[in-house]
Every structure is written in structure tokens, then in C-alpha cells.
């Protein structure tokens, strides 16, 4: 992650200098690609959405104003909106266990398996739970940061997080293969 001051200067410079924008891209490309991949589990689609995120970021660079949140969170915010739209349009397709294609079952270690089950279960929850739980569980974001990204106050984030965790647990408990591998 870039230092906040360095990031601010780079963003200002990026309005007129493509190389400055290039540095920002290099810095956050992986973060955004993996955030999206963590949300939908489809590599090619994750790449398409990543392209959309950076295109939007580039086109809005002139009007971007630092409102005290790191640029990475601003990009995650754009990504979240795009991912939500994608899930709304493709929910049936995503939930067909296609995500398993992205992993080679025999190569999955225990940690990866865990992730895979959680991801699958998350996709069955309403979007507002998905948004918060993904940021908390996969991205390890703090409550305050989640609030900033999703424009929610901290109490709302906490409430949704609590309810969402319960729903996620129930969803996992429905999955017999998960219960075989893990005990809750």
C-alpha cells in the first residue's frame, strides 16, 4: 500500500501524467483483481470487471477529490458496485457451482478449501450481506473502513455483519461436503 501523502501527490500528478496513473495502477491492480475474484470466483469475469474498474477510475481522475479515505478503498467501492451489478445479472450462472472450475480440487489445500466453501455460501446471501462479509472476512477490513467503502455508519455495519455471519453459518451447515471437511 502506498503512503497516504505519496498517494495524494501521485493522484494529483495522474491528472496530467499517465506514468503517475501507471504507478497507481501497478499498486492496486492485484488488490482489485483479487477482491473481485474473491467476490465472484470467476477469473475471466474478474479480469473484465477489473478492466472496468480502472477505466472508470481513469475517466473520473480529474474530478477525484481526496475525502480522507485511501484510494484503494475508493477503487474497492467502484469494484463493489460493478460486482453487485454483475451478480444481479448472473446470479443463476454463478451459483451453478461453476466456481469450482477455477480451482483444481486435488490441488486445494485446507485453507483454500475453506475459502471456496465460504465463497460459495456467501454468494447465496443477499448482496448487502455479501458486501460486508467479503470485506470483513476476505479483505480483513475494519468496521470503520467498511462503513467508508459502503457509505454506511459503523453501527449498521456491525448489525449487518452480525446477522450476516449467522446467515453464513446456517448456509454452510446446509452443505454436507463442508460438514465432512470441517466441524463448526
Amino acid at each position: 500500500m502506498l503512503d497516504r501523502e505519496v498517494e495524494k501527490n501521485l493522484l494529483e500528478k495522474a491528472k496530467e501524467d499517465k506514468d503517475a496513473f501507471g504507478i497507481i495502477f501497478e499498486e492496486y491492480f492485484s488488490l482489485i483483481l483479487n477482491y473481485i475474484f474473491g467476490r465472484i470466483g470467476l477469473k475471466e469475469e474478474a479480469k473484465d470487471l477489473t478492466e472496468e474498474v480502472f477505466t472508470k477510475a481513469l475517466l473520473s481522475i480529474d474530478s477525484y477529490k481526496d475525502r480522507g479515505i485511501p484510494y484503494s478503498n475508493y477503487l474497492i467501492k467502484i469494484a463493489t458496485n460493478l460486482v453487485n451489478n454483475f451478480i444481479k445479472k448472473n446470479s443463476k450462472f454463478i451459483l451453478k457451482d461453476d466456481i469450482e472450475i477455477e480451482y483444481k480440487e486435488d490441488l486445494l489445500d485446507i485453507e483454500e478449501k475453506k475459502f471456496f466453501y465460504i465463497q460459495k455460501a456467501l454468494l447465496k446471501l443477499p448482496l448487502n450481506y455479501q458486501n460486508i462479509l467479503t470485506l470483513k472476512i476476505f479483505e480483513k477490513k475494519k468496521i470503520k473502513e467498511i462503513g467508508e467503502i459502503l457509505n454506511l455508519n459503523e453501527n449498521t455495519v456491525k448489525t449487518i455483519l452480525k446477522r450476516g455471519t449467522e446467515k453464513l453459518k446456517k448456509e454452510l451447515e446446509k452443505d454436507e461436503t463442508f460438514l465432512k471437511d470441517f466441524s463448526l
Binding site: F25, K114, I118
Partner: protein, 231 residues
């Protein structure tokens, strides 16, 4: 139970994917887009500047020209310039009213130049920025032993705006011109209109060989002011 589940979630490590080829491709694409955006921005700035210039040309310059024009006409340049100013000051409004209602003049509106004359009182007597071909002036009728009050009194009796041309009033009008050789074309046939503008001012319009003259007889000052339209 939930605490155990929370711990379970905390331990989760997200597998990372990498795609250097895609990263490079996307970066190149974004750079192309960046250049396009820059060019578009430049074009927008150029367009904005052009529209400002357009507004400047359309509003500010004509306004400045108008002001300059007004100023230049107000400053005395030569005898005719003085006359124009003089006529404008004293009779401008009245003359304009006459022009608006004068059928003879309206017939000649087809001439572009004349349209200018009508629409802009300021330039009525101006032709290509000079007065060379426009004969205009003023003379004191006393010098010719003429008292225009007689004429005004006579014409007032008719009590109408556009006066009937009859031998009485025509003769009176002709008296004014008879001693001045410059106006030997003013006769019974060439006088087209006598208009009683107000109690002391009479307009005589004269048309001869496609030339159109206006004489304003002011009984208060006993002066005649005249000018020819450049038709």
C-alpha cells in the same frame, strides 16, 4: 458456538490470483485511453475558448462598435456632421415617426442601404462613413425675408397631419425655395407631402429623378433644415 465460527472465519486466507500478461495488456489499454482522454480534454478547452471568443465577437465587439459609433457621431467632424447632430437632437424622434409612416419611403425600403437608414436613426445621413454625396444643411429664413410662421399658420388651419396639397399652401412653401438656386427642383410637381409634425414644425418631402429630399421648416427658429436621402 458463534465465537468458534468467528474464529473459523478469522483464519480464512484468500487465495491470490496473478496474471502478468493481462496486467500488461490492461495497462497499455489504459494508457491509450489516457492519451485519448487528454486529446479530448484539449479539444474541450479549445471549444470552450472558441465559444468564449464567439460570445466576445457576437456581443462585446458589436457593443463596443455601437458605443464607438455613438461617440464618433457625437463628436463634431464637419458641417454636415454638426447638422446631423443638430437634427438628431431636435427632431430625431419626430423624423423617425415620419419615416415609419411615410409610404413613399417605405416603397423604397427594398434598397438595402435604405433599410439601414430606417432601422438605425444614427446612420440616416451617413453613407460609407462620409457625407460627400449627401447634400444637407440649414439656412436662416430671415436672410431670405421669409417668415415661416405664416406658412405654419396657414397649414395649421387644415388641422390634419398629412396636408392636402393645394395652391395656397404650396405657394407658401415655394416662397421659401424660390430664392435659392440649389432648390430649383422644388416645385408643385416635385413636392409630394406636407406634414404638420407639430405646431411649429412642418415637413416637406420632395421627390425628383429618384432623389428624395426632406425639408423641415421650423417656425420657432424660422429655419429650414434639409437633407437628401441617398437612394
Amino acid at each position: 458456538m458463534m465465537e468458534k465460527f468467528d474464529e473459523f472465519l478469522e483464519d480464512i486466507k484468500k487465495p491470490e490470483i496473478e496474471d502478468e500478461e493481462f496486467k500488461k495488456e490492461l495497462k497499455d489499454k489504459l494508457f491509450v485511453l489516457y492519451e485519448k482522454r487528454k486529446a479530448l480534454k484539449k479539444r474541450k478547452v479549445l471549444l470552450r475558448n472558441l465559444s468564449y471568443s464567439f460570445v466576445f465577437l457576437l456581443i462585446i465587439i458589436p457593443t463596443l462598435l455601437f458605443i464607438l459609433n455613438k461617440t464618433s457621431i457625437k463628436s463634431p467632424s464637419d458641417g454636415n456632421g454638426y447638422l446631423v447632430r443638430n437634427i438628431q437632437g431636435q427632431y430625431e424622434e419626430k423624423i423617425l415617426k415620419i419615416l415609419e409612416n411615410d409610404m413613399l419611403l417605405e416603397e423604397k425600403l427594398e434598397n438595402d442601404r435604405l433599410i439601414k437608414i430606417y432601422k438605425s436613426s444614427v446612420k440616416v445621413y451617413e453613407k460609407d462613413g462620409n457625407f460627400e454625396k449627401i447634400i444637407s444643411g440649414e439656412q436662416n429664413l430671415e436672410e431670405h425675408n421669409i417668415d415661416s410662421k405664416d406658412l405654419v399658420d396657414l397649414i395649421k388651419k387644415e388641422n390634419t397631419k398629412s396636408l392636402t396639397l393645394n395652391s395656397n399652401n404650396i405657394d407658401k412653401v415655394l416662397e421659401i425655395f424660390k430664392n435659392d438656386k440649389r432648390f430649383d427642383f422644388v416645385n408643385k410637381d416635385t413636392i409630394k407631402n406636407l406634414i404638420n409634425i407639430d405646431e411649429s414644425l412642418i415637413l416637406v418631402s420632395v421627390s425628383e429623378n429618384n432623389n428624395y429630399w426632406i425639408f423641415l421648416i421650423d417656425s420657432e427658429t424660422n429655419k429650414i433644415i434639409y437633407f437628401e436621402y441617398p437612394l
